[in-house]
Amino acid sequence: MLPGFNLSLGFTLFYLGLIVLIPLSAVFWKTSTLSWSQFWDTVTMPTALASYRLTFGTSFLAALANAFFGLIVAWVLVRYEFFGKRIVDAMVDLPFALPTAVAGITLATLYAQSGWIGRFLTPLGIHAANSQLGIFVALTFIGLPFIVRTVQPVLEDLEPELEEAATSLGANRWQVFWRVILPMLAPALLTGFALAFARALGEYGSVIFIAGNIPMKTQITPVIIMAELDMFDYAKATAIAVVMLVSSFVLLLGINILQWWTNRYNTTNLA
């Protein structure tokens, strides 16, 4: 064991407790003022159930889309030299920096029926604003930097010699990517996916402007929580928050285990 382990572990636990656990336990504590049947009735309201499906579904799809396109962006940024690369690289971080409400209003304006993009989509029968598609667009926007920024450093460290070796051993480009590059990127890709997914689950600011917020159709769970708060029903609001929290935790834990498993697979293979 490294020296200073006890001290640093103690510090880690203290810090996590202060920043994460205490606020979260307040959520559980507030919820516990409800009886079990009240809790169950609240979290299984038809509008709430519909919103879980919508929130988790669109967040998952958006993270998936980002994993694919974000990987391409990272690849281009690492492997190619081109004019204005620095600027493109900096642009990737914009969704981080932009207040989400600004992002939401901008997207909603672009995709509205009379907007720059919306006017071309509407004749095709695609209604991007005030629909589930709009939520997907907003979540994809806010999630992009997570994938790019987690994959990019790993990709930079990837030695071209490995690919050259694979090629010299007779692998084609596709095999090189599938058998050599992707397994090494997988842990970073999964981390990025998990971050983008978690971020999308809690997103409120940008989505409300583009979603339309119609109950049962385009109302995400955070909107229901806000509605309960606005009616001063803190216990019900936290009850729904607990459902979000627990299911997010389970999903993220699952992704972490998957990541640990791919890591182990890689190291044993390389050894």
Partner: protein, 338 residues
């Protein structure tokens, strides 16, 4: 420690020193915080200047007034959670009731402390339509026609939207001999014509005016007039239905806070001055309906005559209306349940 880290820490320290609040600056000045809701921004900016002049002339004291605006319900929550408001001027009595019951910062009978239900000015819900009123919208009945798109915020999150919902419901009750079943059918049809439920009144205004969604916006009368002023080139028109609801945005001194801060007298005077000729005239200027007959006469031209019902008459008060219509599983939820 290496150089860049050292430099970074130095920058952090300097930044902290620069942004830290100056200690004990101007401690003697009287400070008031008025926590209000969204559409009053322009009105209170002007009213505060008038009150500061009045208070200086009367007592010689300088008073500075800060404003906070947001959705009425969210503002009430902030006060419950410790925002030190001296006075609250919110969109509906239910929100101040909530402050009273949740935090006991003010007495339960706060609404009896000032004249006219502690509402120095009133408003109502009107329709805002696009140039030339292409869908020919004149009254509530026109809102449930097929093909008409109505923009209104979510009554669960917006005070103004609750007034709008109740105005529509009261109309439907009147048309159907007070029959609740028929009124529910009407209200369901109405909300099925709503393509977007924004969380707040300003959001709905933006959806209608800037994003050009919908044929008609249901909103506060003063907000509708503001849109006319703000976007006068777009040529919106206000349509006043034959009947609407008397919306009373109430005001109250947050007594526990003012007692502790020693601002009770000035906070009380601040709200009472709203009932003065000057206060009433400013309210009228910002499109609130004044209570005072003189100011009301002066601004009579800008308000269309409308038959107004009250929430107490039709719904038996806020607490009951809230429970029947907006609570979980209430009438509003039933609209969306299959």
């Amino acid at each position: 420690m290496n150089k860049p880290v050292q430099r970074f820490l130095t920058i952090c320290l300097v930044a902290l020193a620069v942004t830290a609040p100056p200690i004990a600056a101007s401690a003697k000045e009287i400070k008031l915080l008025n926590v209000s809701y969204d559409p009053t921004r322009e009105f209170y900016t002007e009213y505060n200047a008038a009150f500061i002049r009045y208070w200086k002339a009367k007592t010689g004291d300088e008073v500075s007034i800060s404003q906070s605006h947001g959705g009425s319900g969210k503002q009430a929550q902030s006060v419950v959670n410790g925002l030190e408001a001296d006075v609250v001027t919110l969109g509906l009595a239910f929100d101040i009731d909530a402050i009273a019951t949740q935090s006991r910062l003010l007495p339960a009978d706060w609404q009896k402390k000032l004249p006219n239900n502690s509402s120095p000015y009133t408003s109502t819900i009107v329709f805002l339509v696009r140039k030339g009123n292409p869908k020919g919208i004149k009254d509530w009945e026109d809102l449930v026609k097929t093909g008409v798109k109505v923009v209104v915020p979510n009554p669960k999150t917006s005070g103004g939207a609750r007034w709008a919902y109740l105005a529509a419901y009261a109309y439907a009750l009147g048309q159907n001999h007070q029959d609740d079943v028929a009124a529910k059918v009407f209200i369901k049809k109405l909300y099925q014509n709503v393509p977007v439920l924004d969380p707040g009144a300003r959001g709905a205004t933006v959806t209608f005016a800037q994003r050009e969604i919908g044929d008609v916006l249901l909103t506060w009368e003063n907000e509708a007039h503001l849109v006319l002023k703000e976007f006068n080139s777009a040529g919106y028109e206000i349509v006043t239905p034959h009947q609407s609801i008397l919306a009373e945005p109430p005001v109250a001194v947050v007594e526990r806070t003012t007692k502790r801060r020693g601002t009770t007298a000035v906070a009380q005077a601040y709200l009472e001055y709203l009932y003065s000729d000057e206060g009433q005239e400013l309210a009228g200027k910002h499109f609130y309906r004044p209570r005072n007959a003189k100011a009301a006469a002066k601004f009579a031209a800008q308000f269309t005559a409308v038959e107004l019902v009250t929430i107490d008459q039709v719904f038996g008060g806020w607490a009951k209306a809230q429970k029947t219509h907006f609570a979980d599983g209430g009438v509003f939820d039933q609209i969306y349940h299959p």
